[in-house]
Assembly symmetry: C2
Homo-oligomer: 319 residues x 2
């Protein structure tokens, strides 16, 4: 078992894409081996630069990510792409999207593309994505692009994992800057006005520049205009990313961000472990169900129920 894990880790360190892919599957499936594997990989991580790409549906994230990947490949950097797309029996979106997109880079071993479908996973999407990024990092990918569909809290959490977060906006999506989720605006290091050849792009750019001025941090988010379908503006975008990366390092902000990130991740891991332990030690699913019944029937209030769970957990601890 330990040998198999070491072997698996060694193949990932060597950049073996099948081993990488299996590791990400293990993370997605909550496979018990994932933790041991990640512990082995961990010492050789912390080298990749993580770029988050987010924005509403229809903003052209995938095309932009593909263009950025091609740009970095032309500079001889290795690239990993994680496309985080909560999938379901209704759509099967993740797998389909993968197949279509793989075609562009299929011949190029320098780009690894993987969709993440982790709905309902304990610890949540953000944690699984962070772990998958660690795997790509350990496999020697220098640039990891994390693409997220939608603009909910999950996506904001995922954006926070990245060293640099791009927020895409397009003109005329009925989803203008005023309507954007506030947390997303604040998460942006760089605003990308994609589909920049469309009518209304000037106005969106202006609005974003005004928003960027309101930023409280030491970095005022850059606003870059692109047309990902033609490749227009991609080099300028890569330039803005480079400039932000230099700022992160010179200002010492990179260290601060990384520490804040690890604090969040440790808390989230701790939460998951505590909950797991508590549910096990207090009668498991069945105990929880009985309590839920008493609460639904107003025989106990929720706080009494939780106090009961907590003291059962305490007793389990001491027994």
């Amino acid at each position: 078992m330990a040998d198999a894990l070491h072997n698996w880790a060694a193949r990932i360190h060597a950049g073996d894409t099948r081993a990488v892919s299996r590791a990400i599957s293990a993370i997605e499936n909550g496979d018990g081996r994932a933790e041991g594997l990640l512990a082995l990989l961990f010492p050789s991580t912390g080298r990749a630069f993580l770029i988050g790409v987010t924005g509403a549906a229809g903003t052209g994230k995938s095309t932009l990510v593909d263009r950025l990947a091609a740009h970095y490949r032309s500079k001889d950097q290795t690239v990993g792409i994680l496309a985080v797309d909560p999938t379901s029996p209704f759509t099967g979106g993740a797998i389909l999207g993968d197949r279509i997109r793989m075609q562009g880079h299929a011949a190029d071993a320098g780009v690894f593309i993987r969709s993440m479908a982790t709905r309902g996973l304990m610890g949540g999407l953000a944690q699984a994505t962070a772990d998958a990024a660690l795997v790509l990092d350990a496999a020697g990918r220098q640039i990891v692009l994390i693409e997220t569909v939608g603009v909910g809290q999950d996506e904001i959490d995922i954006a926070r994992l990245a060293d640099c977060t791009l927020v895409l906006v397009v003109p005329g999506l009925g989803d203008d800057v005023q309507n954007m989720k506030a947390g997303l605006l604040e998460a942006a290091d760089i605003f990308v006005v994609n589909k920049g050849d469309r009518e209304g792009a000037d106005q969106v750019e202006l609005q974003l520049q005004e928003t960027a001025h309101l930023s409280a941090g030491t970095w005022q988010p850059a606003v870059v205009r692109t047309t990902a379908t033609t490749g227009e503006g991609i080099a300028a975008l890569a330039g803005a990313i480079e400039k932000f990366r230099a700022h992160l390092q010179s200002s010492g902000e990179q260290r601060e961000r990384i520490l804040a990130q690890w604090k969040r991740r440790l808390l989230s891991l701790l939460e998951q472990k505590l909950l797991q332990r508590a549910v096990e030690e207090t009668g498991g699913e069945r105990g929880l169900e009985l309590l839920a019944r008493e609460v639904a029937d107003r025989k106990k209030n929720p706080y009494e129920a939780v106090r009961q769970l907590l003291s059962a957990e305490r007793a389990g601890r001491e027994g």
Copy 2:
């Protein structure tokens, strides 16, 4: 203190809107008194019917909610509205929206409108919203409308609180059914094609009917077309809600949903309390920060760090 809480609870039971409003503020602010107050209110809850209204920005949720409120008022039912809108220094959206909307119902004490702004609140938006709904329930509101902006995981969690969830879709928002967040489709009890006078409404309705056919449950989501601005279709929508409510009761599904809901809520409360306790007992923020530093420097892996936190917590428990 206990007297003040009893007095406060009595005023809420009497339907006093200022007391209700203060209670929701206490919940939003994580005020320590909220838990005691909710414990007092809890026995008289479980009577309101909760209707969740969700969909992307620009789908006309507020207008639809206002129309539904007016409809229920005309049937002599009391109504509470919770508009859940993660706000921020950038937009101040919640407060502004409140002011504008209060005007319509200001003279009618039968409608209580309140925006929830709970970003960053421990336990999250869904829990705070659920607690606020309990307050309205205890205050005798028969119908509680919960409106959520956006379509992220938070919103899906909030949708799950409701007894009946409406998902709004409008034609031509670049956000068609294929692009909709899968979890949201699954959360829908009723699909509302709002702005039903727009071009493309027929097509959206057809797509939603196909989606509804795929539903695995015993209830096939109804599809209702409305034009909230004119009130067109609102009575039909209320009829569909009534039909669903009857189905919930006759099928026994209501009980199942309520139990599943309480299981989720107890877990979420437990998680929150465990985490609070663990952080306190393991050196607080400072201890966490030191560990985050060791992880960032690759001196420990995250799993070792969490094991250390867990055993410190265990020692604290036993000491």
